[in-house]
Symmetry: C2
Subunit: 344 residues, 2 copies
DNA sequence: ATAATATGCGTATACGTATACCCTATGGTG
DNA sequence: CACCATAGGGTATACGTATACGCATATTAT
């Protein structure tokens, strides 16, 4: 029934030593109930002694499940160095941990949205499912998502959760966060609140945050002046430029809600250079609570997302999707962190 | 010779359509020279049409090479949330890109130094090699590294490069960086320079930076007072505490070289709270050039490491090691970024 | 012209695991 | 006591690829 043990231990070696057949070893180690307790214990002991570990490739090949998830991170199209959005980097930690907890490996890859990532990971059997991360312009590249759905690729995406979103999406309650920010600014007496961030279809999360702001203002009988909205992508430079454009428009404003901390930080620089006092002349709120937010001067009031929850939800939702379990669309609450930039 | 095409295309399907055998397909796609140009072109065309992609598991199983690297990241033992050292996160980007460039996948995993990571990835055939990242205490856990060497596991480690280091190590020129920092502080007239950071065997990188500082001071006929060295790990809190301890010691000092930006930022807070003016009373230099370094007030002079080079070197060194090619121990130069915290 | 290479490709098989299927002892049921 | 279910585990095989060999044909060398 067997052959003697060899170099790197295989299930055959264990079978030989335990006096059983290889399939029994496989069954025992995978927890099949059709193996007696005694046999199982014996096999487990031998496996431990030999430092045996299941060959991942063989296992995956046979079972067609890799127990690996792939994380595709979309960079903003800054072709230069590795200035990654700190927020997503933090989320990475959370995702990694949750994967480990669930017994899954995590494969990571940085992508440009315009590349062919949607076919690359499709069926080389590297992973059981895909997590898509980044402020990607899924509007323009909608076809790629549709391709994934068509191919029945299991994936989950971080972003704006709405009914017409394609595929499975997990995200923060951006509208609610916008409301939080707006209410806070209204509460400290601001009336002309500007928004820095792309408010188009191409950045649904930013759009949602703006929607929330408008809603809060409306609730306070204020109207959000469209002229006080300036497009910006999530970077310091973009925030700086947006704030300058805002100043150049000569429209008066006494508060800014920035769609991300990076934008806020850039804007603060522009405002300070223009001689404005923060928060006296202009109160400002950011989004993400990156580490730098507590280092600016004044320190930056911001909206904190639930990173830990996000990682857990992304992974668990994806695993449910992989297991063809029903998965309900869910949204994570946010928390307003009040700091000096809105302290009147 | 064949069977008709089926659901997910395999090399057999291509072989069938091309009228050749499966091994020929394998050879053609892998670039073996023993297949005619015409046949190869035909096979490649069909493969493209079918959207064929090599099954990674089968390929790895047969060839015993995974074309995957594993990145083990060691967290500082803060059991709380995902406050990861920004410096390493930045390096992650660089490593990821270099892996992609070399055609390798990257598996990522967060570990605690005291866990059994040294056996976990050992031979489940998940990866061809391992990258170890983090300010790990490799002194205490030396046995684990020795275990890896013993098992002939291919790995490379980021850290202090010295002759007695175990296994293959890639790192910055920490001593040289310390000299740079020291010379700069001396050049602006400082004479009592304190060092914040663990200077013991357990943190060889910090130790090297301190050594460099001492060397620069010696070259200027100054002596580094051991009483002006305070232990600290790389965190803001630790830096804050170390600076407080320094102040409490009542030893006069007019400059600080912190072993990391996080330490420096914490220290700045302590100094400011103590009523000291920066850089007038105390000049300060950090290390890493994290994004936050340009946001502090005053902005922080710091030592920038070559992240891009680090990622490239780590990956290439590991690949060389995997290919049993000779790999020379190398060290990366650093660059001093002068900002307000040392502007007199 | 014949032997020696080289070229291009088919045959057979191995990589290590998981699973479908089958067989043998039990033990309980009527 | 014949009957069937169940537990426990063996036999055979598939997963999809890569590679050692062998065998023709084509190409040189002698």
């Amino acid at each position: 029934m067997g052959r003697p043990p060899s170099a790197k231990p295989t299930s055959f070696d264990i079978a030989y030593l335990a006096g059983v057949s290889q399939p029994t070893v496989s069954r025992a180690l995978r927890g099949s109930k059709s193996v007696s307790a005694a046999t199982r214990a014996n096999i487990e002991r031998i496996a431990r002694e030999l430092n045996y570990t299941v060959d991942k490739n063989a296992s995956s090949l046979r079972s067609q499940r890799t127990h690996t998830l792939a994380l595709l991170f979309f960079e903003d199209p800054t072709p230069d160095q590795s200035m990654i959005n700190p927020f997503f980097l933090s989320m990475l930690g959370s995702i990694t941990r949750q994967c480990a907890l669930r017994g899954y490996d995590l494969l990571i890859s940085f992508q440009q949205m315009h590349n062919d990532w949607h076919v690359a990971y499709q069926d080389s059997h590297r992973s059981d499912g895909i997590i898509l991360l980044g402020y990607g312009d899924y509007q323009t590249y909608r076809a790629k998502l549709e391709h994934l759905v068509e191919m029945d690729t299991k994936f989950v995406r971080w972003g704006s959760v709405s009914d017409d979103s394609i595929g499975l999406t997990v995200g923060s309650d951006n509208i609610g966060a916008g409301v939080q920010a707006g209410e806070h600014l209204v509460a400290i007496g601001r009336k002309a609140i500007a928004f820095l961030g792309d408010a188009s279809d191409h950045a649904p999360e930013f759009q949602d945050r703006y929607t929330g702001l408008c809603r809060a203002m409306a609730a306070a009988a204020l109207t959000a002046d469209p002229a006080l909205q300036q497009d910006a992508v999530s970077s310091e430079e973009s925030g700086y430029a947006a704030a300058q454009a805002l100043l150049a428009s000569a429209k008066p404003f006494d508060a800014i809600f920035a769609a991300s901390d990076l934008i806020a930080i850039g804007a603060m620089r522009a405002l300070t250079e223009a001689g404005l006092r923060l928060p006296h002349d202009v109160a400002i709120i950011g989004f993400d609570d990156i580490p730098a937010a507590s280092l600016t001067s004044p320190t930056l009031t911001t909206v904190m997302q639930d990173l830990k929850g996000a990682g857990e939800l992304l992974v668990d939702a994806l695993l449910a999707r992989i297991g063809d379990a029903p998965v309900e669309r869910s949204v994570l609450p946010t928390r307003l962190i009040k700091r000096q930039s809105t302290a009147v």
